[in-house]
């Protein structure tokens, strides 16, 4: 439990040991709920209903009004552990803050990370709010990350999990000090294998479930189809051009492309071609050769800082530009309107607008933001 000596910044709520655990029905959140119960918390399991109503055809085939498998799994786990369990409705806010954002970003020729939006607006904002409503001081999830209070800095810190191969701090860089005060990440000090083992030993019904992959609301992994069905505008084919503006062929709609993509372009040239830019305004996908995919400077916006209050001067960090990327040496410096200029020591492949860049100082998350554009 967090140090009780520290005075809470939260002025409307007394600290208590009630915690709402977001339960997806998967291994990680199930074990989180179990661990918290063992640690003496009063645990309330909550599954967030974020999936949207299915069309009538899907109901006929699969039955039910929503994908209930996750709920059923989570409920079984909650019963097994012996905790209260509820399903809460987040359909509308998830649609607005995650799905609509996801679709709009693609329409703007960008490649969003919906998990980051979900963590920012849904899990640690809306769910936390709902936790407070039922007088729970904490929200917990099965994320692999460590949240700690640092006396020296007088700040909450977000740190990489012990199992660095599973570390999920990249998708959590938006957490604020207030949120971190109310967050528990019980898996931060565990390895994935240990978590699976725990689940197995406990006889949790989900022990052998595979890790979730891809985007949870695009159930068939066909995100292009998902965007077409959810976009308010028509997805129009357009032109491929090279970096000097010369016509190369036709593409099937900008939403189908991301920076660095080589496969599925349907254009043959002497050397392999890659997507190097997407010009949504003109509905053009710009192709280039290998070296044109690289860059070493970018500007990020919607930045959030955790280990520092704000970025006031240049700072040397390690930065990564997508979830699966390796951290690279870089220098960040503040720009006007809260934007941040990031200069890497070495050039990076496929700096992609819409993805996030996250800054680290060793194991500590400094902060991060959304990539607005590659500078060069």
């Amino acid at each position: 439990m967090k140090e009780s000596t520290r005075r809470s910044k939260n002025f409307f709520m007394k600290k208590n040991n009630r915690v709402v655990v977001g339960m997806s029905g998967g291994v990680d959140s199930s074990v989180s709920a179990y661990l918290l119960k063992e640690q003496g918390y009063e645990v309330i399991g909550v599954t967030m209903q974020i999936w949207q109503d299915k069309d009538e055809e899907a109901v006929k085939v699969e039955g039910g009004c929503c994908s209930l498998a996750a709920v059923n799994d989570a409920r079984r786990v909650a019963n097994k552990i012996g905790i209260k369990y509820y399903v809460m409705n987040f359909k509308d806010v998830f649609k607005e803050k995650v799905i609509d954002y996801f679709v709009d970003e693609y329409l703007k020729g960008r490649t969003p990370n919906p998990c980051i939006a979900c963590n920012k607006y849904i899990k640690f904002e809306e769910l936390l709010k709902r936790a407070w409503m039922i007088d729970a001081y904490y929200v917990a999830t099965g994320h692999y990350a460590i949240c700690e209070y640092d006396e020296e800095r007088g700040r909450y810190l977000l740190k990489k999990s012990v199992d660095t191969s599973k570390d999920q701090t990249y998708v959590l860089y938006n957490l604020t000090q207030t949120q971190l005060e109310h967050i528990l990440f019980p898996l931060g000090k565990y390895k994935k294998d240990e978590v699976r083992e725990l689940a197995k030993n406990l006889g949790l019904p989900v022990a052998s479930k595979p890790d979730s992959q891809e985007i949870c609301f695009v159930t068939d992994n066909d995100y292009g189809k998902f965007i077409r069905e959810n976009a308010k505008e028509e997805i129009k084919p357009g032109e491929f051009r090279d970096t000097r503006g010369r016509f190369l062929g036709y593409h099937k709609g900008i939403i189908h492309y991301t920076i660095g993509q080589r496969k599925g372009l349907g254009i043959s040239a002497g050397k392999p071609l890659y997507v190097v830019d997407i010009d949504a305004e003109n509905n053009v996908v710009v192709l280039g050769y290998g070296d044109e995919v690289y860059g070493d400077e970018l500007i990020s916006y919607n930045n959030n800082f955790i280990s520092i209050d704000k970025l006031e001067k240049e700072m040397r960090v390690k930065a990564k530009i997508r979830y699966t990327a390796k951290e690279q040496d870089a220098v960040i410096r503040p720009l006007e309107d809260g934007k941040v200029f990031v200069k890497f020591d070495n050039s990076q492949r496929a700096i992609t607008p819409g993805q996030s860049v996250v800054f680290y100082d060793g194991d500590i998350v400094v902060g991060g933001g959304i990539i607005e554009r590659k500078v060069r």
Partner: protein, 384 residues
């Protein structure tokens, strides 16, 4: 923690006397009612006695009562059965926007089957306007289906008047009386309805059994084909213990209906007045007097209904809000939207439905706990 159950419109506990009446039919008298030997005949006799009890409670003849698996099946049967039987006569059905999903979604299904459905609006109290029905009937109309009393807001519809309008145009009238039976005196002959759905588990009987009253001479197709049970209209070996339970439950509830209604009405009004007195920014949903004796439905501004229900649950009070999705999460109620609520206000609604086992202490406890919860939720939603 002592729990207070205030969701009697969702379901009710089985009355001990009902349970006792049912028990022999699980084991001692286990025969198939269609069999000729004594075990079968005894079971058959029990079914027919139950049928008479249901008929008596409704003022019907015994051979107008057909047992089903519950309210949903009865509604499905009435709507689809009449639609299919009269499809050569017309293809138009009239219902309301505030029906139970059992009727509403059956109508939507029939629309896909080629029928035309008019969903009548309701006024701010949830009442259907008779002139709206009059205007909606065409020469293609084959059925009007309007619920007797609404399950969410408790409003009692002017059924007798509505039936007259339908019958002036020779149109069948079905009513879903699942909430009304056992809470309002019902005489099908006086009302002159053609079809009426009811369910056992809302009147201290078992789940999984109900009945459809079908007036003699009404044309209706069967939905379940098979054996000759229920005069060849609803196949399947009868749920004998369930049917016995329904008979017992309906007899018990109608025997003392007046005092039951008086008790519930007293507790209801105490609860409504207490809430309106103690909590600001609240409104009563449904009609102040034309409402089910046990129904309280209120909307609180600036309160999330889901959080409210969870808080009440943690305080040991079982209540409901909106209509639960299969997953258990809550949706804004279509009934509250139909009486003109915004989606936000519809989300902040609370339904407390009183049953025969509730006491005045239960009501006092709610009136003590609820204002505190509302105050706290409002103070949080102001901040975040």
């Amino acid at each position: 923690m002592d729990r207070i159950y205030l969701d009697n419109a969702a379901t009710t506990p089985v009355d001990k006397r009902v349970l006792e009446a049912m028990l022999p039919y699980y084991s001692d008298v286990f025969g198939n009612p269609s069999s000729l030997y004594s075990y079968g005949q005894e079971a058959k006799k029990a079914i027919e006695e139950a049928r008479e009890k249901v008929a008596k409670a409704l003022g019907a003849d015994a051979d107008e009562i057909y047992f089903t698996s519950g309210g949903s099946e009865s509604d499905n049967w009435a709507l689809k059965g009449v639609a299919y039987a009269l499809k050569d006569k017309g293809n138009h059905i009239i219902t309301t926007e505030i029906e139970h999903p059992a009727a509403l979604n059956t109508c939507r299904y029939l629309e896909k089957e080629g029928f035309k459905v008019t969903y009548l609006p309701v006024d701010e109290y949830g009442l259907v306007k008779p002139e709206d029905l009059k205007k909606a009937i065409t020469d293609k109309t084959i059925l009007v289906s309007i619920m007797f009393a609404n399950n969410e807001i408790g409003t009692i519809e002017p059924i007798e008047e509505l039936v007259k309008i339908a019958h002036e145009k020779n149109v069948y009238f079905h009513t879903d009386a699942v909430q009304a039976v056992g809470n309002i005196p019902i005489d099908v002959k006086k009302l002159d309805v053609d079809l009426l759905s009811l369910s056992a588990h809302k009147i201290y009987g078992p789940k999984g059994v109900g009945a459809l009253y079908i007036k003699k001479g009404i044309k209706i197709h069967s939905l379940i084909q098979g054996g000759t049970q229920e005069k060849n209209r609803r196949a399947g070996t009868e749920n004998v213990p369930g049917i016995v339970g329904l008979g017992e439950a309906i007899e018990l509830i109608t025997k003392n209906l007046d005092s039951h209604i008086n008790k519930l009405t007293f507790l209801r009004d105490k609860l409504i007045n207490g809430i309106l007195e103690k909590i600001p920014y609240v409104r009563l949903n449904g009609h102040p007097t034309k409402r089910l004796p046990g129904n309280v439905n209120v909307s609180f501004e600036f309160v999330d209904g889901e959080s409210l229900i969870l808080n009440l649950d943690m305080a040991g009070i079982c209540a409901s809000s909106g209509s639960a999705c299969t997953s258990g999460s809550l949706e804004p109620s279509h009934v509250l939207l139909a009486i003109g609520h915004s989606k936000e206000l519809a989300r902040g609604s609370l339904r407390l439905t009183i049953g025969k086992d509730n006491t005045e202490e239960d009501i006092d406890k709610v009136l003590e706990v609820l204002p505190q919860i509302i105050k706290r939720l409002r103070s949080i939603s102001q901040i975040v």
